[in-house]
């Protein structure tokens, strides 16, 4: 099991995750985190909650390939990716990416790279619940464009 990846229904603690990234790691001076949360609004619709479905097995494989790519491109130390599945309410945390490095640019770039490819390659799907009922979220062309820039 890849300790760098966790797919879970439970919430996570930013502080605990960063503490683990930093523990016994005095060589990395930089830590960059990304946290994604459920927004209250999407395309003008008031979202009340969402459900996250995923393709178990492929999710872990695709994320671990993305992490390997990031480690090839930048000089980074530790990496952690958490993605929640199941039912989530407004404001809840969905995704966490944490990266440590000696020099800050590596952690910034690798973190954004991981998020950009997670967005277009990791098999997760969101179904939103709003006053208008339930609907599957459409993928954004801008996410594809952004991933292709790397």
């Amino acid at each position: 099991m890849n300790q760098e990846i966790s797919i879970q229904t439970a919430d996570f603690s930013l502080a605990d995750e960063v503490a683990l990234l930093e523990q016994n790691n005095p060589i990395d001076g930089a830590v960059v985190t990304f946290t994604g949360r459920v927004r209250n609004n999407n395309n003008g619709q008031n979202v009340s909650s969402l459900t996250l479905e995923h393709y178990s097995g492929m999710t872990e494989k695709s994320l671990s390939k993305i992490i390997i790519d990031a480690k090839t491109r930048w000089n980074i130390g530790r990496v952690k990716v958490i993605h929640r599945i199941g039912e989530l309410s407004i404001g809840e945390q969905i995704v966490f990416v944490g990266v440590t490095s000696k020099h800050r640019h590596d952690a910034f770039a690798a973190n954004e790279f991981i998020m950009d490819f997670l967005k277009v390659q990791a098999p997760f799907w969101k179904k939103e619940r709003s006053e208008q009922g339930e609907s599957w979220l459409d993928a954004k062309v801008t996410d594809d464009t952004k991933a292709k820039k790397w």
Partner: protein, 82 residues
């Protein structure tokens, strides 16, 4: 046999999450899609949708990817995680 799995909107539209398909006459993902599309008009329109994504044994692949008996093939809409 080939194990075929569907996710998200596609799974709901097909009202099916998993299917076993004979590997006879199927050598690529395109062959499999073609066979699934032949089931009825609804399946035809769903499997002819060019935005549909495919994975074989948990790796994202193109239509010309070779497949064989024992493989797990997945079809799903563009992903929306993160």
């Amino acid at each position: 046999m080939i194990k075929v799995v569907f996710f998200a909107a596609l799974r709901e539209q097909l009202a099916c999450s998993e299917l076993m398909v004979s590997s006879e006459n199927i050598t690529t993902v395109a062959d499999l899609k073609h066979q699934l599309a032949n089931k009825n008009e609804q399946w035809q329109s769903l499997f002819n949708n060019s935005s549909l994504l495919s994975a074989v044994n948990h790796d994202m692949v193109d239509n010309d990817q070779a497949i064989k008996s024992g493989d797990e093939v997945a079809f799903f809409p563009p992903v929306t995680g993160g």
